[in-house]
Symmetry: C2
Subunit: 508 residues, 2 copies
Amino acid sequence: MTDIDHTRRRLLAGATLLGTGAALTGCGDSSPLAAAHAADTASGDHTTDVVIVGAGLAGLTAARRLTASGVRTLVVEARDRVGGRALNHPLAAPARPGTIVEVGGQWVGPTQDRVLALIAELGLETFKTWDIGDYLDYRNGQLVPYGHLFPADPLNLGLNRIPPTDPAGAAEAAVAIQQLNDMAARVPLEAPWTATDAIAWDSQTFQSWVDANLFTPGGRDLLQLAIEAVFSAQPRDLSLLHVLFYIHSAGSLDHLINTTGGAQESRIVGGSQRIALRMAEELGDRVLLNAPVTQIAYDARSVTVRGERFSVRAQRAIIAIPPTLAGRIRYSPALDGLRDQLTQRVPMGTVIKVQCVYPTPFWRDSGLNGQVTSDTGPVKITFDNSPPDAHVGVMMGFIEGEDGRRALRQSREERRQGVIDSFVRYFGEQAAEPLDYIEKNWAAEEWTRGCYAGYMPPGVWLDYGEALRAPIGRLHWAGTETAEVWNGYFDGAVRSGERAAEEVLALL
Amino acid sequence: MTDIDHTRRRLLAGATLLGTGAALTGCGDSSPLAAAHAADTASGDHTTDVVIVGAGLAGLTAARRLTASGVRTLVVEARDRVGGRALNHPLAAPARPGTIVEVGGQWVGPTQDRVLALIAELGLETFKTWDIGDYLDYRNGQLVPYGHLFPADPLNLGLNRIPPTDPAGAAEAAVAIQQLNDMAARVPLEAPWTATDAIAWDSQTFQSWVDANLFTPGGRDLLQLAIEAVFSAQPRDLSLLHVLFYIHSAGSLDHLINTTGGAQESRIVGGSQRIALRMAEELGDRVLLNAPVTQIAYDARSVTVRGERFSVRAQRAIIAIPPTLAGRIRYSPALDGLRDQLTQRVPMGTVIKVQCVYPTPFWRDSGLNGQVTSDTGPVKITFDNSPPDAHVGVMMGFIEGEDGRRALRQSREERRQGVIDSFVRYFGEQAAEPLDYIEKNWAAEEWTRGCYAGYMPPGVWLDYGEALRAPIGRLHWAGTETAEVWNGYFDGAVRSGERAAEEVLALL
């Protein structure tokens, strides 16, 4: 697809223009992805109604909603592109020109109604994640294929993504998942700190809960892997209350970990970044790229957002970036202690997303769906990430949490070797020589600083939860970390943008 | 004292000068504290050997050490004053002119050898914290005075600051303290993550340890109060491993919580900020005030530190500010993920330091030493903070952790009323009408963002500990959060500054 290129060409030029309607339409269809224009820095003094910081899904959704209501907006984005944690990467030949893989977030699934509605509105289409064939489980040095045990999962036991390699462990994990789902249902999404057991649950790590409630090594391993895969953090990093909130926010732990029926069910034709690119296209010159915000001044009458060579004056601001990045902006007057200290306490997860390209998805020939769970890193979770028509094969893996942190200071070559070793362990020697190796280390991305999302260590929800979304004067907060439903996912980002836009509309 | 004024006058003017030797000497002796000159922003392009970010005790100590070795340095400080978390506040009449109280850190104690040596070198003197008379314990609605049970503490039971009001609780707390001291001794100060039990200890909150090891409500309350008082955070916020590291870093939990014999033993004549002011005096124009750093660029040959209207080019940089503030600077190239993600994970504690001035320290007349422990907030810990000659009485209290966070969004008047209610509860109606109320909310301080120090939630030492002090190219890290000994205290700050200076000296 060339959405990226087309939009970039127009947006890079947009340094001095203001959104005044007339979104451009049409879509070019030719040139390769342009090199990044890091030297192009936004400049000029702008005036609008609502300034939005961050052109990820949250910020763009807010801008779109406000624009539809006739409100002037300007989105300022630090990077030379839109999409935030959604980023397409074009595959080299022999992949056909225009074929991409996502190096950031990529999936949508059932009950993610707002992002699914947005995808439809934007004229985009989804296709199913490859989920045909057997799973593989690598555990205690053994590689075991297994099928969907309970494809319909009639008892909602959450078993369909739990490998049965260690039957005692699998059974214990299934019971634990049910327990967690039950506890999670008792966490109010709008105010997790008001749960009856909030103090007990926010006083311990998820690891402490595992230590007290699971007794088989297999069961513990499975729970740990599930947490690493969902949060890209270790069970010890997370508040039990946060894990329960997150489960409730998604509906159930099954929703979080399953492919079919869960958050990994579908992909977007042309890549998930197209959601952002299409919105940016609609918004036209209302998006200002290469515009890192360094200061935000606000008073009773207006707000002014500043970068090194630009400023935007508006009635209100929506700050649609993760808390840890929002805390790096200098506010005038300085934000009160509760909000600032919150931003010190919502660290981003740690994940390096890796992909190897092969001539074909050869694992399918062996009846495998390409999805691995493993007790051995660096890659403990894999997916078949081939394009819809599978004209090349793409094996994707995550290096998450502790494994990810260890890999942060490795060289690319060391990481590549670790990844290939993992893939060979799961899929044999055919995996040894990929045509291409693609990696994205989100912790090193200056304008994200970790993925998938910000999370809450113990104690944060209790003492700082109320500062997560509450506006401060003319400043409003968005971003998936502020979402009640599908927090941490594209859907949560979209919902947060819609909510922030409504908040502002009611006050203009 | 007029150190402040004298130093400020010279330093405020120092925007364009470089330290090239010839520290100014002498000390003025006249004018009242000048108003802050927020509008004075440092400007100009400077060149030096070592640029130091932050004029707290760590940064100034490093500058002093480097200067003594003949190395050119320039300290850039965001505020219009030196001292960081050390700040003198002049008392109004009827206190004699020049009388101060500290609104930041104020104490030193035995084994804090480096700060004690520095104090002596700078010609400053200490005096004992008022510790004569009975303690008060307020618990379950009862106010109970008690004496030093074991003044000599021959068995090192750590009992002398543990109120005996609830004997079962006190006994259990004493045993727990001994247990913690024993565990702490097994944490290597230079690498806590290498402790034999590091994984178990860093996987749980301190609250989880209390829940598993203390069974009387009284014992739990006492441990909680000790942790709140030492960390200005809740037991649920802290990694057990971090608490153990911190205890070992100070020598024992007794050292942390005791007045006589502990970290609260002595005060500095003229106020603790004089340590910084005297160093700044020596450094003269090598300190640049009103110079918030926004960017640091570094490569194989040099480092350039920039603010809005100034730059400093040097061979190396020492960044002597807490991790959460260091993370707000923009680095070029961007810091690697491990270091950046560390800065997302070391939040500052939460404390509002409050003081009421009375015509006399009237509690002394009742045989009280002014030190309270309490189960009821907002103020649960108090100290007699009167000047050495007690010509006025000053009652000081801390609003810490959870209480502090609740108070962050109260008005000053609401906080004042809560403080006076607490003081009246402990010392009677005579406390009801102070001559003056002084408060300092460190979470709202733009260039500190919380006190006493940054702390580690679970999991941080294990996965990020190695990034705390390790230099990155030409960037070196100081600040009390990086100290092995007396981490979080003045002494740790001084040691970190000395260590960073040695690091740099070995490489110049």
